[in-house]
Amino acid sequence: MTAAARFSSGAAVNGRRTGRRRRLRSGLAFYGFISPWLIGTAALTLFPVGYAVYLSFTNWNGTTPFKPWAGLANYREVLTSADTLSTLSKTLVLAAVVVPVTIVGSLLLAMLLNRRMRGRAMLRTLIYIPAVVPPVASSLIWKVIFDRNSGAANRVLALFGVNPVSWLSGRTVFIVMIVVLLWALGSGIVIDLAALQTVPAEQLEAARVDGAGPFGRFRHVILPAISPILLFQTVLTVITTLQTFIPAILLSPIAAGGMGVMTNIPQANEVYMVDVYEQFFDYSRYGYGSAMLVVFFFVIVAMTALIFRFLGRSVFYAVDPAKAHQR
């Protein structure tokens, strides 16, 4: 409508004015529709992030009325403190284990559940259900299972003559944390299954006629078709895994207790977010904690850029028709 009015009576002054008014009105409508989000994001996302950036340059402890300026000291400490770097590296190790297994595992499961088989809908539901379990519950469920005395894990091991293991203390608790995160592996299945439906059937058929085996069809037809989704999923999984917090504080032989009293967290579970929490609420180091949050944000941006650089290239390579013809 707007465009039609603009072009048909473009020369007439009157027409131009109503066109402008219409455009103004549609612009107002646009801002009207998005205003809840626009105001909300400004107040609840952008402003707090800005506040954290500001605090990161101070040494505020939350009680003094003024906030002593610290310059770059907090950032220097984040990047050189052995404690912080160790929590960061633990978090990266966690992601290095969990992300590939999650992406590959949920794709394999989706391909399995994409085949025609008896009871398929039921099997899909059962495999997906752990993915809707909230992290608090899944952490507690595995905590019950991995308890040294009453847990099922040690009872299974006892069948093979293995002595009881104190899973929740020492380094082994890191393994339990990985199990908690991998239990929700099914969360990618719904998206993967939907993506698999977009694979062109005629291309699969053509590949079959050309003598491509199941692996060849996967490599040259299925993978290129779903690679954009896989890339998107990888980025999201990296971001969520780096933020791991709840399993880290809940998996301990002694209850972690309420906020600010997280004194019983096993050393192996001191991931980056636990460190941030402790800086804020145990040590009242608001400036340092804020600097850690800002650094964390940049770590995520860097990881995303890296993923796009290394995986993104193969995504575009795969869909490049010129290259596809050379095969």
Binding site: W37, P48, M117, L123, R155
Partner: protein, 300 residues
């Protein structure tokens, strides 16, 4: 019917619902024979995924005296454990908080996200592309990065200890849901609202009367995502609420311990089970719409 259907409608072609039960059964048997290995592997994985729930139920029904005894099943089942689990912490009060906060947030976020997604999909305005880039950018900001500074700011405005933060978060919508809505609303032809414009309907009426009724699966998806996000959230209620009005996630996570701080595993199992059942029921109930919402909007 409470199972995940194929997200795409086209692939169930060979499976019309009116096939008589007998031939359907023989067809299922044929399928099972054709693909026995895939079926066995899928069943094995499904059992593996469900097994933790089974052990949880067993633990929840075990009398305290038999926790840690060297046996797979207790000699007697103690159903009173569930009642104890709801008394050991203020279970129902916290469940009420969880229900109120989750529904409040989910309803607000569902409609606010729909409004914004609609605006991005079907309206024009200066700066739209920049704002959309901001939206995608905020998807990348981990919630925890904003949560702690928000806590510091909200405590200045006396919003800590109230439900207001959830109202505000809900009213602002969630980037992920907005993105899904935008993709969904973009897929309709222009004629849809042109007819309504000729009838003299304003933009808000077109949205409510024409587009909202078409987006039921996505409304369900957004509601379920929002409800589960708050029901499962630990950090926000832990920071923003206190003992008297906090949610079940916090209560279950930290309540079941004896005076020395050691967990009471059978009560913990019972409490965790009661906490997780509503989420699973909601998912099973909404599953078909939920999966369809993803399939229609998530992939474009």
């Amino acid at each position: 019917m409470t199972a995940i259907k194929n997200p795409s409608h086209g692939t169930n072609r060979g499976f019309p619902p009116q096939v008589p039960a007998a031939s359907r059964r023989s067809r299922a048997r044929r399928l099972a024979r054709r693909n026995p290995l895939a079926f066995i592997v899928a069943v094995f994985i499904a059992v593996l995924m469900i097994l933790p729930f089974v052990t949880l139920i067993i633990s929840a029904l075990t009398p305290a005296s038999q926790m840690g005894a060297d046996r797979w099943l207790p000699t007697s089942l103690r159903w009173a454990n569930f009642a104890d689990a709801t008394r050991y912490i203020a279970f129902w009060a916290m469940a009420k908080s969880s229900v109120i906060l989750s529904s409040l947030f989910a309803v607000l976020a569902t409609f606010s996200s729909a409004l914004t997604g609609y605006g991005f999909a079907r309206m024009r305005g200066p700066g739209k592309n920049v704002l959309f880039a901001v939206l995608i950018g905020t998807m990348m900001v981990p919630p925890i990065v904003t949560l702690i500074p928000t806590y510091l700011l909200f405590s200045d405005y006396h919003l800590v200890g109230t439900y207001w933060p959830w109202v505000l978060w809900g009213a602002a919508g969630t980037p992920y849901a907005i993105f899904l809505y935008r993709q969904f609303f973009s897929s309709f032809p222009k004629e849809l609202e042109e007819a309504a414009v000729i009838d003299g309907a304003g933009p808000l009426r077109i949205f409510i009367q024409v587009f909202l009724p078409l987006s039921k699966p996505l409304l369900v998806t957004a509601f379920v995502l929002g409800f589960n996000a708050v029901w499962g959230d630990f950090i926000a209620p832990d920071l923003f609420l206190n003992q008297s009005n906090t949610t079940l996630a916090v209560g279950v996570a930290s309540g079941y311990e004896n005076s020395q701080g050691y967990p009471l595993y059978n009560l913990l199992a019972g409490g965790a089970l009661l906490y997780v059942v509503p989420v699973i029921l909601l998912f099973l109930f909404a599953q078909r719409s939920y999966v369809r919402g993803f399939a229609t909007a998530g992939l474009k």
